[in-house]
């Protein structure tokens, strides 16, 4: 009954993804104009956007390329700190907040992509659980390095040192990244609208990629590496391509995220964050882009919602139980039965990939 891949399936997915995001943006804007939005939710809008971009970009690696990465937060970290440095440097040169944020994001994407290449070239030779643990290791390495990074700026320009601060700043100089203490006094220039635009760009690029010869090659590598090789597709090259594009978007999400807080430390971007994003991707459905959007947004709001419902003490416990229950249900006979019942009613309707 699921035999026919709907001609419009891919286009329909794009429409749904864009539809959800635009509708959500409008609703939130109306709510905030009429004053119907709670303070805590308002504070979560930018992080939600960052998580959505993280989830969609990780889906490119895990769902479309089919390789498990537990290091996505590492690229977010690279993007976050690059973004901080760039915006600080450009404070006077580019007075417009929006433009400065945009420039920072582009530089952050490039930096994260470079790190993506450095990490990806060696580790993508592995696969499966080995790749998972190695990407996790890479994420922790990035965290360690950022933790001992000292960057300061004065009239002579940027100063950088690793492990110990080996420079002294002139009078009026500014410490940007201060080792384990991280960054403080960030000028918060991320806005919900900036996040919204970033999501749209991410969706546009990644959905386009999936419907192109490069995207097809990536999916071919996922479905059968040996067969992909046999028809002239370099598996290493397309694995790296997907990994690096994914890293670049994580970098942009990092800038967006960092510029929403006044203090940021490297410890924030550890493997737990990578795992959190992976949960979004799996629950949203592997390879299902709009699923990632919804899962990232809902699961970020859920703990907050539970707090409102007076489950404050138990909210993370409930979150954990829901997560386990969802995974069990997703793979249970009960779900299969329900699907079959629905399937017999709408025989021709296609079914998305289920985690």
């Amino acid at each position: 009954m699921n035999k026919i891949k709907n001609l419009w399936a891919t286009r329909r997915d794009s429409v749904i993804a864009f539809g959800i995001v635009i509708a959500a943006y409008i609703v939130v804007q109306i709510m905030s104009m009429t004053g119907n939005i709670s303070y805590s939710l308002k504070g979560m809008l930018v992080p939600i956007c960052a998580y959505v971009v993280m989830a969609v970009s990780l889906n490119l690696t895990v769902g479309v390329l089919g390789e498990l990465s537990l290091g996505h937060a590492g690229f977010m970290s690279v993007g976050a700190f690059t973004g901080i440095v760039v915006t600080t440097v450009l404070t006077d040169a580019v007075p417009s907040d929006g433009l400065r944020l945009a420039i920072a994001m582009v530089v952050a994407a490039a930096a994260a992509a470079v790190v993506g290449v450095i990490v990806g070239v060696p580790v993508l030779r592995l696969s499966g659980d080995y790749l998972a643990i190695v990407t996790l290791a890479a994420c922790e390495i990035i965290k360690s390095i950022v933790n001992v990074l000292y960057i300061g700026m004065d009239s002579k320009g940027l100063h950088l040192s690793i492990v110990k601060q080996s420079f002294t700043l002139e009078e009026g100089g500014k410490m940007i990244i201060n080792g384990p203490i991280g960054v403080s006094g960030i000028n918060k220039i991320s806005t919900f609208t900036a996040g919204f635009v970033l999501i749209l760009i991410t969706l546009f690029v990644i959905l386009n990629l999936i419907n192109s010869r490069h995207g097809r090659a990536i999916m071919a590598v996922r479905d059968n590496k040996i067969a992909a090789d046999s028809i002239g597709i370099s598996t290493t090259r397309y694995k790296l391509l997907a990994f690096v594009i994914s890293a670049a978007f994580a970098g942009m999400a990092g800038t967006l995220y960092a510029m929403n807080y006044s203090t940021v430390t490297a410890a924030k971007f550890d493997f737990n964050l990578s795992i959190l994003v992976l949960v979004f991707v799996v629950l949203g459905g592997l390879g299902n882009i709009w699923g990632s959007v919804i899962a990232a947004a809902l699961l970020t709001v859920l703990p907050e919602l539970l707090r409102k419902l007076n489950f404050n003490d138990y909210r993370m416990l409930i979150y954990a139980i829901l997560l386990i229950a969802l995974m069990l249900f997703n793979n249970s006979k009960l779900k299969q039965m329900l699907l079959e019942r629905r399937g017999s009613k709408k025989a021709a309707k296609t079914e998305g990939e289920v985690a």
């Binding site: 390095i145 069990l328 249970s332």
Partner: protein, 289 residues
């Protein structure tokens, strides 16, 4: 120098014990059990409660921790992992993450986030060999690791259940056809792994006496790294990986940088896997075309 080496071996022994548990479970169930680290934490709290609140003898505390963790391991496996035996490995991974969240947050509710200061299970004394000073905790840790490794090797090599475990890890379907009860065998692996986690938890908290709900998380990840490093599924590999990791970490902390030590440990893991993709003692498999 020698002192650092001893400290490294001691820390490595703890990693090795956790890694042995990881390897048992991974070898048989082929899953990354992210909750393993949190079982360590539960073991630590159990022993803490027994000795501090109830005033039990430390040895009884260890036994209680082992008993609770064994049961916990079996329950987790039955409730959360068994229904997913035929599901994609990612689904099992996410479930394991769910279990990990669950254990951490349950611990947070029961014991709060205030650190508990753990009193070591053996006295704080030390033995003196010339310049070299070795604490009792270190001695017990290293001894425990050697005993466990020997016992596990004997168990998997010589006993019927151990043979069944090896059979299940090679080929579940074939093992079942040979009349092996796969479910019981997998439960058994979880039971042993969790009991080891309990011991590791007590030893870890004896050496680093700060107990919080996330205590087990990082050692769990590092021990898994150690298991992969040595060749996952291999008992001597887990032991070797654990001890090497402990030594590397201790030396990095002493001579290079506290903050960078974790990074260097993970860097070594990546290097080893690039040279030997199946780990130091793992065996390479190849897809048939």
């Amino acid at each position: 120098m020698l002192n650092y080496l001893i400290t490294g071996i001691s820390l490595g022994s703890i990693y090795a014990i956790i890694a042995l548990g990881y390897t048992m479970v991974y070898g048989i169930a082929k899953m990354l059990n992210f909750a393993h680290g949190d079982v360590i934490m539960v073991g630590g709290y159990m022993c803490f409660c027994a000795t501090t609140y109830m005033g039990w003898h430390p040895l009884l505390g260890v036994l209680l921790a082992m008993a609770v963790c064994t049961v916990l391991g079996i329950v987790i496996e039955r409730l959360a992992y068994k229904p997913l035996r035929s599901a994609p490995s990612l689904a099992v991974l996410i479930t394991a993450i769910g279990v990990s969240y669950f254990l951490q947050n349950a611990a947070l509710l029961i014991w709060t986030s205030n650190p508990k200061s753990f009193s070591p299970i053996v006295g704080r004394g030390a033995v003196q060999f010339g310049d070299l000073q070795i604490t009792h905790v270190t001695l017990v840790t290293i001894a425990a690791c050697v005993v466990i490794m020997a016992a596990l090797t004997l168990f998997t090599g010589k006993t019927k259940l151990g043979t069944a475990m090896r059979a299940v890890s090679e080929d579940k379907g074939a093992a079942q056809l040979m009349g092996i009860n796969v479910n019981t065998t997998i439960s058994m692996a979880f039971a042993i792994g969790s009991a080891l986690a309990a011991i590791a938890g007590v030893l870890l908290c004896s050496a680093y006496p700060m107990l919080v709900p996330t205590t087990g998380s990082m050692p769990g990840i590092k021990a898994f790294t150690a298991a992969v490093f040595g060749g996952i599924g291999s008992i001597p590999g887990a032991m070797l990986g654990g001890i090497l990791l402990g030594i590397i970490e201790t030396f990095c902390r002493a001579y290079i940088s506290m903050e960078l030590s974790d990074g260097i440990v993970f860097g070594v893991l990546i290097l080893v896997l690039l040279v030997k993709p199946a780990g130091l003692l793992g065996k390479q498999t190849r897809e048939k075309v």
